[in-house]
Symmetry: C2
Amino acid sequence: MENGKILRSFGLKVTAPRIKILKLLESPVKAHLTAEDIFKELLKTGDDISLATIYRALSQFEEAGLVIKHNFDGINAVYELNSEEHHDHMVCLKTGEIIEFYNEDIEKKQQEIAEKHGYEVINHSLILYVRPKK
Amino acid sequence: MENGKILRSFGLKVTAPRIKILKLLESPVKAHLTAEDIFKELLKTGDDISLATIYRALSQFEEAGLVIKHNFDGINAVYELNSEEHHDHMVCLKTGEIIEFYNEDIEKKQQEIAEKHGYEVINHSLILYVRPKK
DNA sequence: ATGCCTGCAAAGCTTTTGCAGATGC
DNA sequence: GCATCTGCAAAAGCTTTGCAGGCAT
């Protein structure tokens, strides 16, 4: 039960609902899920966990640093596992698909800009809303 | 009545509530306002316009391209006038202050990245969550 | 005159919370 | 055994909407 260890290592209590939620987030099929997505997905497999529990679990996961919450325009908040390497997102306006990317130069520029204004970057959100090019 | 012309030029009907809302958005004191901010601000000057109207006006302004809506983390949606020159935002986590900036290199990189993936950028959102450096 | 606007109140949606019982450690 | 978690249902918070009357053109 690998997921149990993960939860524990983030200081989270190990419970059945949490393990199931974490498992879903790990599944490579869809990396960015809304609370509702998770709720429905779990229903499919017969695990019916209340939405309240899902929201609570996700909040705690986020606080613990296990997941990251994104507020993309128009869509509900989505959650993804907090992978080691930071990345940003493209949201396809046609399909809703979410693509990850990372660009060193942009990251650096951001730091520079903040510093120039006397700030340090604690966090940032870069989202490209895109459309397939034909 | 300059503002009347502006509304008209964006294809919007000219009404008292809209003019007042637009005036507030133009005021340089606070460029980024929530619907609630506007509501309260108008109350102060004795103009009590219903929240529903403010939301409706802002939606229409946005649709018409007069204003831009931002969804910053934690805060409610904020609206600002759509100035000619695009810019991005820094949100100070300590004071809530919002600072605008623009960086050519970042803009370019974004296009490149999207293109590399077969997309074109329709819109983007870059927000730096920052803290004053001591 | 007509169609778009406004206010009000009610509804909608996502997310949060109080409470009582269940579960993990 | 005790603290924390869970489900349920209710509430909260922001935003939208239906309706009836009012205003701009």
